[in-house]
């Protein structure tokens, strides 16, 4: 292979990216060396199995991915603002919407949520770590390496360009002969391993690691939503694994699952993809629901309304989410019976969702509301998500969907649910739990600026798209003509997009600003909140709880505080040594080998893939022979910690 085929050449944007990547890398290496931080990086972060640190790394990676995906979005908006624009050509535009969609869903939304789950859930259930700390690290590193593999495609070899849904035959070998689609397949495959492991890990953690006094029906709603999410992950991700593997076989080894020739069935790909794909959208929305529940309850100073209804509606969603997938391809023409069935199940799933909306509203009703930034995001979520949900039900009517399908109406729908659902939740959760992670709050004034600008921008950007869709503008087109009459609304949308970008930048600046100027936390409970994570001191010690807390309800910490107000004295119990897992370098090394194997397969360099796979197996063998039992935190160390906080 020639070097100029290996590196993507000929585009100034990409040269710019090359330069900035190189500069960032050099800068990072220089800084680490200059400040003598390599050892610190390795022993504190790369080898960590602490759920709080892994969570933070997930969130950092997700914010970086949000940036990358956001830049993609800006480029698309720039191209679409005016008719017949020449900023991006068709190929380049296709690549950008593909990487945008894939990155936002797989490498931004999910890791952001999983990161927050990592930080919060063990603390909420009074656990000292997750069930399988080692696997937790494997999860993070496989996700990270998968994401990196996917991301280098745009400087080495070329990006995928068949959409995040990668429909065949477009994604097949004839129409996508480059390596880009291979990056998609392998990047997602490797990251998917991590997601499945997270699913098993947190399911067992929530079921088995709770403080003994916490019954299932006393778990905080966020923990419940995580539990349900994990169940969906466990059963949905294997489907994606298979679908990706089959397409990989088609592309690399000449099989005929989805080909046009020799009996292959292109639509089978769509079928398998959406069997995973629809549950996936619930994977990214349920934790968001959970976070909003916590935030609304905290800042309305009321316990959540309809706790049981909340839980049951999530259980129902988990079941139904596997029975609606065909609504993504009603237009395939599977027949009246099939379309009707899936149309009805889709509408059914809106019912439990509606129940939750009412529960939030009733929680707010007569609450003494504090309008913090986190709360503002939650409040904005409700009306915006309703818009997304209602238009979802419009799409669910199979006959009507023939009109909406693949237009900007659909684009508007899923951005209304994904941004005002998932992204608002990520921001809300970040503001809310930031003091738990970093020991200081984010600045509220900057936070509110960023909130208003982002929310205004979001609605300005995506509301017009409903009308663009109704006016016939198809999705995934790189340009349109003057005569189409779509310009004015596209200008609005681009303007809105710009505002969202500014809102995001203010958030990033806020992170820097608060790091410098925010007062440090002293209490560990900055919001006067309700669940157990807030009972830990600031900073949270690495063993989380010196004594295991007691849960007497789903607002366990609130109940504790009430009891103390009524004069109950916290009894002084002696400390006992605490068992903790050891750090390990195996997960990161194993994931590097996954990366190597994946990279080899992308280019069909068999020696490299085999080398990578041998490395993966070898690290597994090493792990199998590792009988490390962890270590005990001594009573002296615990006393030392508890004194300072």
């Amino acid at each position: 292979m020639r070097l100029d085929e290996f590196f993507v050449t000929g585009d100034p944007l990409i040269y710019g990216a090359d330069v900035s990547i190189a500069l960032t890398l050099i800068g990072a290496i220089f800084a680490l060396t200059y400040f003598k931080k390599w050892k610190w990086l390795w022993s504190e972060w790369l080898t960590t199995v602490d759920h709080k640190k892994l969570g933070i790394m997930y969130i950092i990676a997700a914010v970086l991915m949000l940036f990358r995906g956001g830049v993609d979005a800006m480029l698309m908006r720039a191209q679409l603002t005016v008719p017949d624009a020449g900023f991006l050509d068709a190929k380049h535009y296709n690549e950008i919407f593909t990487t945008h969609g894939t990155i936002m869903i797989i490498f931004m939304a999910m890791p952001f949520l999983i990161g927050l789950i990592n930080v919060v859930v063990p603390l909420q259930i009074g656990a000292r770590d997750v069930a399988y700390p080692f696997l937790n690290a494997v999860s993070f590193w496989t996700f990270f390496m998968g994401a990196m593999l996917f991301n280098i495609s745009f400087v080495i070899g070329g990006s995928p360009s068949a959409g995040w849904t990668s429909y065949v035959p477009l994604a097949g070998l004839e129409l996508s002969p480059g390596v880009g689609q291979n990056y998609y397949l392998l990047g997602l495959q490797i990251a998917g391993i991590g997601t499945l492991l997270t699913g098993i890990n947190f399911l067992v953690t929530i079921l088995k690691m709770r403080v003994p006094s916490m019954k299932l029906m006393q778990m905080p709603i966020f923990t419940w939503s995580s539990l349900i999410t994990m169940v969906i992950i466990i059963f949905a991700f294997p489907v994606l694994t298979v679908a990706l593997a089959l397409m990989t076989f088609d592309r690399l080894f000449g099989s005929h699952f989805f080909t046009m020739m020799d009996g292959g069935m292109p639509m089978l790909w769509a079928n398998l993809f959406w069997i995973w794909g629809h549950p996936e959208v619930y994977i990214v929305i349920l934790p968001a629901f959970g976070m909003f529940s916590e935030i609304i309850s905290t800042f309305a100073r009321k316990t959540i309304f309809g706790y049981k209804a909340m839980v049951y509606s999530m259980v129902i969603i988990a079941g139904l989410s596997f029975l609606v997938w065909v609504h993504h391809f009603f237009t395939m023409g599977a027949g009246g019976a099939v379309n009707s069935f899936f149309s009805i199940t889709t509408m059914l799933i809106a019912v439990p969702t509606g129940v939750k909306i009412f529960n939030w509203l009733f929680t707010l009703y007569k609450g003494r509301i504090r309008f913090t930034t986190a709360m503002l995001w939650a409040l904005a979520f409700i009306p915006n998500f309703v818009i997304g949900g209602v238009t979802g039900v419009m799409l669910a009517m199979a006959a009507a969907d023939y009109q909406y399908h693949n237009t900007y109406f659909l684009v508007a729908h899923f951005h209304y649910v994904l941004i005002s659902g998932t992204v608002y939740a990520c921001f809300a959760g970040l503001y809310f739990w930031y003091p738990k992670m970093f020991n200081h709050r984010l600045n509220e004034r900057l936070g509110k600026w960023s909130f208003w600008i982002f929310v205004a921008g979001f609605n300005l950007c995506f509301f017009p798209m409903y009308f663009l869709g109704l006016a016939g503008m198809p999705r995934r087109v790189y340009t349109y003509g003057v005569a189409d009459g779509w310009m004015s609304m596209n200008v609005l949308a681009t303007f809105g997009g710009l505002l969202m970008g500014i809102g995001f930048l203010i958030l990033v600046y806020n992170i820097y600003y608060s790091f410098r100027y925010s007062p440090r936390e002293t209490t560990g409970d900055p919001w006067d909140a309700r669940t157990l994570e807030w009972s830990t001191p600031a900073p949270v010690p690495h063993y989380n709880f010196a004594h295991l807390p007691e849960a007497k309800g789903h607002d366990a910490f609130w109940i504790m505080k009430e009891e103390i107000k009524q004069g109950k004295k916290p009894e002084k119990k002696p400390y006992k040594p605490i068992h903790m897992p050891s750090y390990s370098g195996v997960p990161v090394v194993m994931s590097v080998f996954f990366f190597i194997a994946g990279f080899g397969m992308v280019f069909s360099w068999n020696w490299m893939s085999i080398l990578g796979l041998i490395g993966v197996l070898a690290t597994m063998v090493i792990r199998s022979f590792d009988y490390d039992k962890g270590f005990y935190v001594s009573v002296e160390e615990i006393e030392e910690h508890e004194k300072t906080t």
Partner: protein, 106 residues
């Protein structure tokens, strides 16, 4: 834990449940074979019966070989497998149903 199952306490007993399970599995396999080749039923009937037999045999493995019910977490274990069966039915039956339109074009 461990009080509810004779497997766990079966120190030095003869492993009856394994032997019975093994015997049943062989019988069920041969039965399926016989139904497939010699019963003369229609293809649909045959498939319904043999898939049923396969499910029975899978259950035998789960109960008699894998002791799915023996631990303190047996509810979760059984629940997981039942939910997995629900998914399996949804995926397999659903896919066949949805994709069957393709048959008209073959």
């Amino acid at each position: 834990m461990a009080s509810n199952n004779e497997q766990t306490n079966s120190h030095s007993h003869f492993p009856w449940s394994h032997v019975v399970g093994f015997g049943l599995s062989i019988v069920l396999t041969l039965l399926a074979l016989w139904i497939g080749f010699y019963s003369g039923f229609s293809l649909t009937t045959i498939m319904v019966i043999v898939v049923g037999l396969a499910l029975v045999q899978a259950t035998i493995q789960l109960l008699m070989f894998m002791h799915i019910t023996e631990s303190e977490d047996s509810t979760v274990q059984v629940g997981t497998i039942l939910y997995a069966v629900f998914i399996a039915v949804a995926v397999v039956a659903g896919t066949i149903w949805v994709m069957s339109f393709g048959m008209h074009y073959m």
